[in-house]
Structure formats: structure tokens, C-alpha cells
């Protein structure tokens, strides 16, 4: 999740730049508008001032005219004063107007024309004065001048009016354009401002949500860090980081603990760590680490010992993996594990294995002794007995014959015991290969082995079809053979022996008798007979070595046969159970794991 946030930071950046751009535009536009406004108010003032000055000029001219008329009527020079002052004032106003119209060529041209007209008017005044001062009012020239003066005055009036109108028109035009401009501006500014506000809000909410995510990620990271710390302590692990660019090590707290030191109690450098490495392992350790640091490559598992300050030797296992973070920075992340207990366990296990091997050797030596050395004298006893019987029996008394029979029986029984014991000790799986075998054939072979007694007893054996199962074949044959002969031996005297052998696939959960099933399914084989059966309280005892339910004179037997069956079934990770009912029969149930 954090990486997604980092990748999205371009969005925030672009929103920031867009917002900044928008604010710049707003600033620029506002400046431009204000500039326009001040320009336009300047123009207004100028136009009004121009108008006022123009009106002033006209009013001065009128004053001059009135004065002139007064003078003409009264001939009193007092009336000439407005004329004289008027002339001065007109010049003064002209100077003002020139300044005001410095950036307006139309006004300048108009002023020039006005100036000519005013000069002309003044000239007519002068001329009229000259005639009027001598009282020649009826002089043609005076009349003409006077009339021309009036005409010029009218032209001036028209001119000034025209000039004021032109000024006003220009002002109006500007005003209109400005006003229409002014109407749109606030709208535009408002929209842009709104837009940038929205963007800023979006950015804000994005930043807040990202912050939340980062916080959540941070919390997770914290939890993870804590759990890593705990698992390091429990798992006897320490981790370290080799920063390739910075060329520095970082050790976790537990790494210090593993070497028997307080967390972060010394500088995490390679040399400081090597100080703890067992002198015999230093050379190889250095070589491995140097290669890792030189080539920046993964460190495969390396094994070495360290010596803690208190002298305890620990076995360590270390490996490291190259890691590239989001910024492309490379680090080697390493894990060091204290495997001292594992190694000790391994050593104990090895010792036990050796012991077991020794025991097995002793056992097979015993096997050999039993099979060869014990059998040989017994065989000779039996052979000599048979020779003795053939050649010397007729010389014996009745009791002598009986003793000989007893000796023979004892010898036969001893042979049986030795044979069965041998078979029991040979029923091991260690050196026997499991192979896929047709169980039907193994059952048939077992029946063939017992063909003689099956025929003698007229026994009926029925079975259904078996699948092929991965087993130790001769042991399974032995198993069938032992169970069938067991059924034949403990047959009921009143009935023909019947043995039913049934196979089916069973679900472990449906078989409550299996207490700790290791597989979900089992091959289930039941062997049921109609023999003498047994009390169910003996159901477990009958599998115990040398355990017999009947006296050896009633039923011959060594008490080994069913023990062999149990051993065979256990060799196959299976279970065998017996269930009996006196005088009804016995059922043996066998389970083999369904692989």
C-alpha cells in the first residue's frame, strides 16, 4: 500500500503546480484590471479638466466681449479690464490644455485650430477698439470688424462645443468598454478562484487520505516490527543489513543477544563481529563474507561457531539476500540463526542411530546363532532319535517307548519355538522393500501353503477382490497364512471351518476403533471364522509374544503367530484388532493406510 501512495505523489505535485499557476493568473488579471481602472479614471479626470479649461477659455472670451461692448458703449476704460485679464487667463488655460492633451493628437490639433480662431477674435477686438476709441461707430470698417468678431466668436463656440463633445464621446466609449470588461472580470476571477479552491480541496482530501493510509501502514509496520522482534527472540534469530552504498552494517538487537552481548553495545562492524567467531572458522567466514561484500551477491547458508565472552560456544547459520528498495537503493538483508540445539539434537540422534545399528547387528548375530547353532544340535537330536526308533525301538519296554515319545514331542516343540522365534525376529521392515503387489495372489499363495490342512479340515474359505497395494509381499502372505492357520487351529469341533475374508476401502472417520488415524482412508480387511472364538477381554492379549489362551496340550502352538501378524501390520503403518465371541467365532480386522 505505501508504494501505491508514493507512486501517486505526482498527482499531488501536479495539483500544486496547477493551483500555483491559477493563483498567478488571478494575480496577473487583477493587476491588469486595476491598471485599466486607474487609466480610465485618469482619462476621466483629464477629459473633465480639459472641458473645464475649454469652458474657462470661452467664458474669458465672453468676459472680454462683454468688456468690449461696455467700453464701446461707455468708452470708459474700466470695461477694458476683463478683456485684458481675459487674454492672460486664456493663455494660462491654453498652457494647461497643452499639458492635458500631450498624449492626444486630436486635442492638440483642435487646440491649434482654436488658438488660431482665438487669435483671430483677438485681432478683431483690437481692430474694433481702434475704431471705437475714436468714436467711429459708423465707420464701415468698424462694423465689419465687429461683425467678423461676432462670427469668429460663434465659430469658437462651435469649436469648443465640438471639442467637448469629442472628448465626452471618447470618454463614453472608453467607459463602455471598461464597464463591459469590468462586468466579466469578477465572474472570471470568481470561477478561477472556485476552481483552484476545488483543486486545493481535492489535494487536501487526497493528502489526508494518503496520510491515513500511511498511518495505517505505519501501524502495521510497527506491529510487524514488534512481531519480528518477538519471533527473533523465540526463534533464536538475529538479522542484519549491509548497506551497499553507505558501506555500513546494522545489527538487530537480538543479534547482539545471540552473541551474548547487550543490544547495540558495540559498533556494528564486521571486525567487531569477527572477534566472536571461533578461531577455527574465521578464515572461511571471512572468505564467504568478503565475497558477498565484494560482489554484492546473495550469501548462501554458511555455518560457523562463535565464542561468547563467557566461553560458551554456539553454532550459527547465516544467509543473506540482495534487496532493492523503492528508490533503487541496494542492501543485503541477512539472517543469523543460533542452531546450537539443533546440532546437539542431531548429534544425539546420530548417537542413537549408531546405538540402534549396533543393536540391530547384535540382533542379527543372535538370529544367526538361533538359526544355525541352536538348530544344529536339535536337528541331530531329532535325527538320532529317528535312527534310534528305527533300529532299537523293538528292544524297548513300554515305558521306554513312552519316554521316547515324550522326548520326540519336546524336541518337536523346541523346533517349532526356534522356527517361530526366528520368523518373528526376521519380520523387520528396515531392509525390506515395499512394492505394488496383487493381494489376491498373495492370499492364494498363503492358501496353497496351507493346502494340506485346508483339505484335511474341509475348510471353506471365501474372499472378495482385493486391489493392488504397496506392501512387503512375503510378509502379507505370511500374515494371511498365520491368520488362516490360526482359524483352522481354533476351529469348532461341531462345525466345518468357514473363513470369510472381506476387503473394502474405509474412511478413517467411520472407523472409531482407529484412535489416531494418520490417513483419511484405509484398506480394511476382515477375516471372520466360525471357530471357538474367545472372551473379548483377551482381545489385546492374544497379540502379545508367547501369550496363549489355551494350554499347550489342548492346542499346539508357540504364542508367536499372532505377534508376528501384529508386527507385520505395524511394519505397514497399519492396525490389527481382534474381536471374539466364545463358541461363535473370531474376527480379525486389519487396516492398511490407503496411499
Amino acid at each position: 500500500m505505501p508504494s501505491r501512495i508514493f507512486k501517486k505523489s505526482w498527482l499531488i505535485k501536479s495539483i500544486f503546480f496547477i493551483s500555483a499557476f491559477v493563483i498567478l493568473i488571478i494575480g496577473g488579471t487583477t493587476y491588469k484590471k486595476i491598471e485599466d481602472l486607474s487609466q480610465s479614471s485618469d482619462l476621466l479626470t483629464k477629459t473633465y479638466k480639459t472641458n473645464v479649461e475649454l469652458e474657462k477659455i470661452f467664458s474669458h472670451l465672453k468676459d472680454a466681449e462683454t468688456g468690449q461692448q461696455g467700453f464701446i458703449i461707455t468708452n470708459d476704460p474700466i470695461y477694458l479690464e476683463p478683456y485684458n485679464i481675459g487674454r492672460e487667463n486664456i493663455n494660462y488655460s491654453f498652457a494647461e490644455l497643452k499639458v492635458l492633451g500631450s498624449d492626444n493628437t486630436t486635442l492638440q490639433n483642435n487646440l491649434k485650430e482654436l488658438n488660431v480662431l482665438i487669435d483671430k477674435r483677438m485681432w478683431y477686438f483690437e481692430k474694433s477698439f481702434r475704431f471705437s476709441s475714436v468714436g467711429n461707430y459708423n465707420d464701415e470698417n468698424f462694423k465689419e470688424n465687429f461683425l467678423n468678431g461676432k462670427k469668429t466668436m460663434d465659430t469658437i463656440r462651435g469649436k469648443i462645443k465640438g471639442m467637448i463633445d469629442t472628448g465626452n464621446q471618447l470618454l463614453n466609449k472608453r467607459q463602455e468598454a471598461y464597464e463591459s470588461n469590468l462586468k466579466l472580470t469578477p465572474m472570471f476571477l470568481y470561477v478561477v478562484l472556485l476552481l483552484s479552491l476545488m483543486l486545493m480541496f481535492a489535494t487536501y482530501s487526497k493528502i489526508i487520505s494518503d496520510l491515513k493510509k500511511i498511518k495505517a501502514a505505519n501501524e502495521q509496520l510497527e506491529i510487524f516490527k514488534e512481531s519480528t522482534k518477538q519471533s527473533e527472540i523465540i526463534g533464536l534469530q538475529g538479522n542484519w543489513i549491509w548497506d551497499i552504498e553507505e558501506r555500513t552494517f546494522t545489527y538487530s538487537d537480538n543479534l547482539y543477544r545471540l552473541i551474548g552481548e547487550k543490544p547495540q553495545s558495540f559498533q556494528p562492524t564486521l571486525d567487531n563481529f569477527v572477534n566472536f567467531v571461533h578461531p577455527e572458522d574465521i578464515e572461511k567466514f571471512r572468505k564467504d563474507i568478503d565475497r558477498m561484500m565484494a560482489k554484492n551477491e546473495d550469501l548462501p547458508f554458511i555455518y560457523y561457531r562463535i565464542i561468547q565472552k563467557n566461553g560458551t560456544i554456539k553454532h550459527f547459520k547465516t544467509c543473506a539476500k540482495l534487496h532493492r528498495n523503492l528508490d533503487g537503493k541496494r542492501q543485503l538483508l541477512g539472517i543469523t540463526t543460533d542452531i546450537t540445539t539443533e546440532i546437539e539434537h542431531f548429534k544425539t540422534l546420530e548417537e542413537r542411530n549408531l546405538e540402534l545399528e549396533r543393536n540391530n547387528k547384535e540382533l542379527s548375530a543372535f538370529n544367526y546363532v538361533a538359526s544355525h547353532d541352536l538348530q544344529e544340535p536339535l536337528r541331530k537330536i531329532q535325527t538320532f532319535l529317528s535312527r534310534f526308533e528305527d533300529k532299537e525301538a523293538h528292544k524297548l519296554s513300554e515305558s521306554g517307548m513312552m519316554y521316547m515319545d515324550r522326548i520326540k514331542n519336546a524336541a518337536t516343540r523346541m523346533r517349532m519355538l526356534i522356527d517361530d522365534l526366528l520368523q518373528f525376529s526376521r519380520t523387520n521392515k528396515a531392509d525390506k522393500a515395499f512394492e505394488l503387489a496383487d493381494i489376491n495372489i498373495l492370499l492364494k499363495n498363503a492358501q496353497q501353503d496351507l493346502a494340506e490342512s485346508i483339505t484335511d479340515e474341509k475348510a471353506i474359505i471365501t474372499s472378495n477382490k482385493f486391489p493392488s497395494i504397496k506392501v512387503i509381499p512375503f510378509q502379507i502372505q505370511q500374515l494371511f497364512s498365520n491368520l488362516i492357520s490360526n482359524s483352522l487351529k481354533y476351529k469348532s469341533k461341531d462345525r466345518i471351518p468357514e473363513i470369510r475374508i472381506i476387503y473394502n476401502k474405509a474412511k478413517a472417520s467411520d472407523e472409531p476403533i482407529i484412535l489416531n488415524p494418520k490417513k483419511p482412508y484405509y484398506h480394511k480387511i476382515t477375516i471372520t471364522d466360525n471357530g471357538i472364538g474367545f472372551e473379548n477381554k483377551y482381545a489385546e492379549n492374544i497379540f502379545v509374544l508367547f501369550n496363549r489362551l489355551h494350554g499347550k496340550h489342548e492346542y499346539s502352538g508357540t504364542g508367536i503367530g499372532l505377534s508376528i501378524c501384529k508386527k507385520i501390520v505395524e511394519n505397514h503403518q497399519g492396525f490389527i484388532f481382534a474381536n471374539g465371541k466364545p463358541n461363535v467365532g473370531a474376527t480379525f480386522t486389519i487396516y492398511f493406510p490407503y496411499l
Binding site: 544355525h372 538348530q375 536337528r379 535325527t383 529317528s386 528305527d390 523346533r415
Partner: protein
């Protein structure tokens, strides 16, 4: 002249067994010449001698001092001049290991020493009257151990 007798050799360190063996042949109505040796060394010395008469059937006990039956079997099978001798392993034990080993090494039949005299006679009669040429062709691991 040789054709009338079946030459039989037994190598066995056990005096009783040699006795039973000879007694059994004495009682059987087969014309045989039985020679016995006390161990593998005596046997091989005899077989390797210039003037020795090779037996038709050699009965080899496995467990003998000085030179065991297995060693003898190995030496005999290595030497081509003994190729016509039928070799019967004659041992107290019938462990699968011994049966398998001797079968692979080329013995012709494996006899577990019987534990009464009548059976012994029956076994020896059976073995001596076997047509070896025919028998060896059909030999496999299952019929290698003699069962009566």
C-alpha cells in the same frame, strides 16, 4: 566303468552329519561312491589334484572352518573344468540371504538338512536321481530350495 557309479562328494565339518549322510546312502539301493571331506580346504585340494575323479554331485555345507562353502562355490564356478559338477548346498539354515547368495553364485539346488533320517534318505534319493541337464534349464529362485 565309471558309468555304473554315481560319484558323490560331501564337504562337511560335522562328523555326525557325515555319518548320517553315509548311512543314508548305504541304506539306499543306489550304486554310489561317497567321498567326504572335513572342510573346504581338503575339498579344494582334492578337486585341484591332477588325478582326482570329479564327482557327479557335490554336497557343500556352508559353515565350515578354514574355507567356507561359499568360498568353495566361488572357486569351483570360476574354473571351467568343474562346469559339469552339479552343486547341492547342504546346510542347517535356510535363511533367505544364504539361499539368494548361493543361487546367484550358480549352485544347482539348496537342501536344508532334514531333522529325521527317513526324510534325509528321501531327499538324497531325490537329488541323486535328478536329471541335472533337464533340471538346471528350468531352475529359478522359487524351485531352487528343495521341497519334498
Amino acid at each position: 566303468m565309471h558309468e555304473d557309479y554315481i560319484n558323490i562328494i560331501l564337504a562337511d565339518d560335522d562328523e555326525d552329519d557325515r555319518l548320517f549322510f553315509c548311512d543314508a546312502f548305504d541304506e539306499l539301493k543306489i550304486t554310489t561312491r561317497v567321498k567326504t571331506f572335513n572342510d573346504g580346504v581338503y575339498l579344494m585340494d582334492y578337486l585341484n589334484a591332477e588325478d582326482s575323479v570329479f564327482p557327479n554331485i557335490l554336497f557343500l555345507d556352508l559353515n565350515m572352518p578354514r574355507k567356507s562353502g561359499l568360498e568353495c562355490l566361488k572357486e569351483i564356478k570360476k574354473n571351467d573344468k568343474f562346469k559339469d559338477i552339479a552343486i547341492a548346498i547342504y546346510s542347517t539354515s535356510a535363511s533367505e540371504e544364504d539361499i539368494e547368495k548361493t543361487f546367484i553364485m550358480g549352485a544347482n539346488i539348496y537342501i536344508k538338512k532334514p531333522n529325521d533320517f527317513k526324510t534325509l534318505k528321501k531327499v538324497l534319493e531325490e537329488v541323486v536321481t535328478i536329471n541335472w541337464q533337464y533340471y538346471t534349464n528350468g531352475l529359478n529362485k522359487d524351485n531352487f530350495l528343495l521341497r519334498l
